[in-house]
């Protein structure tokens, strides 16, 4: 941590000056963006300051239960986000449950594996390591799962006739939905694949940038980033697979029928 340079709150205020300038331009040009811009910026400031306080308290307490509670709160927010990002959702408890469940199982599996196997902090659940790691994995899995489910549900609703045509020719529900499942999986995997392809060439990943700014040797920062990317890719893949196949299972039945009555209507 030799190269770490602390920031004061005055530095932050000074850094926000360009954002304020943008708001002024928007006002002058009558773009109607001023309000959203200011509200978003203020909201972000409050959220991050709070998170900083909470994390500091949790790190200081060093309690397993507070760490788990924080992880649970993060999971609830991520689960809600998956639900909100789907145009058509499974009805009943399946709606919030399936996406969040798939994300949680994949996220926890990969987080625990990395903590126990590679990062090995002491104790193994140390919040300084567990929470940021879990948060990154959760965030990426959340994006993948919500994209996968949203694509699958829209494709099924739009392509129900094609699926039923195949069912009528004596194909199983898995055969009949295969093209749509492939489409959903591809859409869920795309962000993480794109991130892996662009990382280091187009953008320096945020975590690596942060480590370098706080004085870590770039090669060490790269190792950490690679570890994280592998974990993110793995967790996203598992989550998308589980959610997509789980949803196909729910939207069909054992008589190989398409059960769109278990799907809510879309907005369009």
């Amino acid at each position: 941590m030799t190269g770490y340079l602390a920031l004061s709150y005055w530095d932050l205020a000074a850094a926000s000056i360009f954002l304020v300038l943008n708001a002024v331009f928007s006002l002058l040009l009558n773009l109607g963006l001023t309000r959203t811009l200011i509200v978003s910026a203020l909201r972000m400031t409050v959220q991050l300051l709070l998170v900083g306080l909470i994390l500091k308290a949790i790190f200081f307490a060093g309690s397993l239960w507070w760490t788990l509670l924080a992880a649970a709160v993060m999971s609830v927010f991520a689960g809600r986000e998956i639900w909100a990002r789907q145009d058509r959702r499974l009805k009943g408890l399946w709606g919030p449950g399936l996406g969040a469940g798939a994300m949680l199982i994949a996220g926890m599996l990969v987080t625990v594996y990395a903590l126990v196997g590679q990062i090995r902090p002491d104790p193994v659940w140390a919040p300084q390591f567990a929470l940021p790691l879990f948060g990154m994995i959760l965030g990426n899995t959340m994006t993948g799962v919500s994209l996968g489910l949203d694509t699958l549900h829209s494709a099924l609703a739009r392509g129900s006739r094609a699926v039923e045509a195949q069912l009528l020719l004596g194909r199983t529900k898995w055969e009949a939905t295969r093209p749509l499942v492939r489409q959903a999986l591809r859409s869920g995997f795309t962000p993480i694949i794109n991130a892996m392809a662009a990382t280091g060439v187009v953008s320096l990943p945020g975590m690596m940038t942060g480590q370098i700014l706080s004085g870590v040797d770039p090669q060490e920062a790269v190792k950490y980033q690679l570890l994280i990317m592998f974990l993110l890719g793995g967790a996203t893949g598992l989550g998308v697979l589980a959610a997509t196949f789980g949803s196909v299972w729910r939207l069909t039945d054992n008589r190989h029928r398409l059960r769109l009555d278990r799907l809510s209507g879309g907005s369009a």
Binding site: L168, L169, P179, R257
Partner: protein
Amino acid sequence: MLTIRDLKTPLIGPFDLDLAPGAATAVSGPSGAGKSLFLRAIADLDENAGSVVLNGVSRASLSAPDWRRKVAYVPAESGWWSERVEDHFQDTPGLGALLAAVGLENALGWEIARLSTGERQRLALVRALQLAPQVLLLDEPTSALDPPSVQQVETLLAARLHSGCAMLLVTHDPGQPDRFGARRLHMEHGKFTDLEPREAMS
């Protein structure tokens, strides 16, 4: 051959109906009467209760895909899952003859998007007939066809009847039931009603 007892869904029924081999049954009725839902229920495509037995074999004892290969339902508008026509057909020896029988012997190389509604309707029928089903459930099989094509399709279906198929068809064409020598049924509000055939066709 096909014995339907107490077949119902939340929207239609209960129905009792017997289909004999080589015989056709025609169902008419206003739009929304539940004719298509009835055919879907027999094909087990919608949730339903009741018993359907084919030649002594109960539907429940067969897997749904096996059942639908024996009891084929062709909806009024079929779905297509690939861009090319040929992707929707199995490469069986009889395919060429079937396509020729409906005047579409060259259709395999075409694109689905460029087909007319009538061409799609005939191709969907051929696709189902390829499975050599024992029972045909046809939902307005000639609704989008011009008179020569109607005749081709009816000739093809009559041949299937002669070879022992049972046929249940929904039709709005007043002459069609007679051309198949079909027994006539009328449906309204999800139930069969006893109307004179002439009124039933109105």
